[in-house]
């Protein structure tokens, strides 16, 4: 991850509304400023409340507009050596969210709720997430559509979305605090040799969903597999993701939140800020650094330092949203 220098505020905001000013990375200790999309910050998870959140504790309550949390890749049911108890670390993540200085308006879960789409795994995850005490909005990961109905079990449980309007494989949108949220599904109808897939129906819906919005509306898009091409050799990207991003190009502030790769990667392109979250279950290697993207086995005392959740705060007047990652330990 490149360490980017801070830019003068007027340079950052030139020609952009609601531009992203700052993204602070708790896990890596990296803080950088860029031009672009939206984010700027808030709290954390577990006992490891580290550097970056401390700064936000002082600023967030005073200015906070909308704060929400992203949880990803909880893989409830996973019990391999990389983490013998993925439910326990999800519970730790939930406890960490509950202890945030700013209570989030809601939580988004960017998929791989379960490890094998089994009812008991979904049940256990739901039970743990219930303790958040705030609404949770989901998109499926590829591990959530492994039932015989290829996603029917997911839809039966989560398919209504926040407005009772989830469509297709579970996509939907909603508005909160002046921000337009779009939940996309890119883990079904996958094709051999391909990457993640949105499909024509969903893209047509997205075009219609965005049509009436003014270009100054902040947009947050979330989906499981990264919508940008992170590392196609490991399948880390979405074949038709660029078409979705094309539909978002006219907006002054777009934040794209994904999971799937179990680590933080981010970049800013124009007014679009891309961010992937850590898993609450197990880490995966950085792109190309291992023979495969399989679970990374860390010493037990290092595991929680590689897991975490993301907190995002949108400040309407100040412009920036804040994206902060925090480890479990």
């Amino acid at each position: 991850m490149a360490h980017q220098p801070s830019l003068p505020a007027d340079e950052i905001d030139a020609g952009r509304r609601g531009a992203l000013k700052c993204m602070a990375w708790a896990g890596t200790g990296l803080v950088w400023s860029v031009a672009g999309g939206v984010p700027l910050t808030a709290g954390l998870i577990g006992g490891g409340a580290q550097a970056a959140p401390a700064a936000t504790k002082t600023t967030a309550p005073a200015q906070a507009g909308l704060t929400f949390v992203q949880i990803s890749d909880s893989h409830v049911g996973f019990d391999k050596p990389a983490n013998p108890d993925a439910l326990a670390t999800l519970r730790e993540a939930v406890a960490g969210v509950r202890s945030l200085p700013t209570k989030p308006a809601f939580v988004i879960h960017t998929g791989d709720i379960s490890h094998l789409s089994r009812d008991e795994q979904f049940d256990a995850a739901d039970q743990a997430l219930k303790d958040l005490g705030v609404p949770v909005f989901f998109v499926p990961g590829e591990h959530d559509v492994l039932d015989d109905g290829m996603g029917a079990a997911y839809l039966a449980r989560y398919g209504t979305g926040p407005n009772g309007r989830a469509l297709g494989a579970g996509w939907y949108s909603f508005d909160h605090g002046g921000v337009h949220f779009v939940a996309l599904v890119n883990v079904v109808n996958l094709k051999g040799g391909g990457l993640g897939n949105l499909g024509e129906d969903q893209l047509a819906w997205l075009a219609g969903d965005l049509r009436a919005l003014s270009a100054s509306t902040p947009v947050v898009v979330f989906a499981h597999i990264p919508l940008w091409t992170v590392y196609p050799e490991w399948g880390w990207g979405t074949d038709d993701g660029a078409r979705a991003l094309g539909l978002l190009a006219r907006f002054g502030s777009v934040t794209v939140l994904n999971g799937h790769i179990h680590q933080i990667l981010q970049k800013v392109e124009g007014s679009v800020a891309f961010h992937t979250a850590r898993s609450t279950a197990f880490p995966q290697p950085s792109p190309g650094s291992a023979p495969s993207p399989g679970p990374m086995k860390l010493p037990a005392d290092k595991l929680r330092g590689a897991l975490g959740v993301t907190t995002v705060t949108y400040r309407q007047k100040a412009g920036p949203l804040a994206v902060v990652d925090a480890t479990l330990g």
Binding site: L116, L146, L190, L195, E233, G235, S292
Partner: protein, 121 residues
């Protein structure tokens, strides 16, 4: 009498089926490090392909033409399928579609020798 003939017929069919099975080749394809290995196999018609997941992550096997699809295979779980052929079967992992493999069923009946190759096509 007719009952006896039916029973004999069933026995004969069973015998043939069992004999056929005994003679057929079995070829194992291991799924390791998000790769089908061998990625391409040449087999005789009637060969049984057995996929074994050696990864710590589940995988599944699905034909590109949707003619078959395994249930999800957790670590060390297996899926087997007998290929009739001749022809070429391209398949992929339905969870990780960048993982691809190919089965070439040769009418001539080569001896199920696998050749290793890169996973991607």
């Amino acid at each position: 009498m007719s009952r006896f003939i039916s029973a004999a017929r069933v026995a004969a069919v069973l015998f043939c089926a069992l004999t056929g099975l005994a003679q057929a080749e079995t070829v194992e394809i291991r799924i390791d490090n998000f790769t089908f290995s061998p990625a391409e196999v040449h087999v005789a018609p009637g060969t049984t392909i057995v996929w074994v997941n050696a990864d710590d992550i589940p995988h599944a096997v699905a034909a590109n033409d949707k003619s078959f699809r395994s249930k999800v295979l957790d670590t060390e779980e297996k899926y087997s399928r007998t290929v009739a052929g001749p022809g070429t079967i391209d398949y992929f992992c339905s969870l990780h579609p960048h993982m691809t493999g190919r089965i070439i069923v040769d009418a001539g009946g080569s001896q199920g020798s696998g050749t290793s190759g890169p996973a991607g096509h």
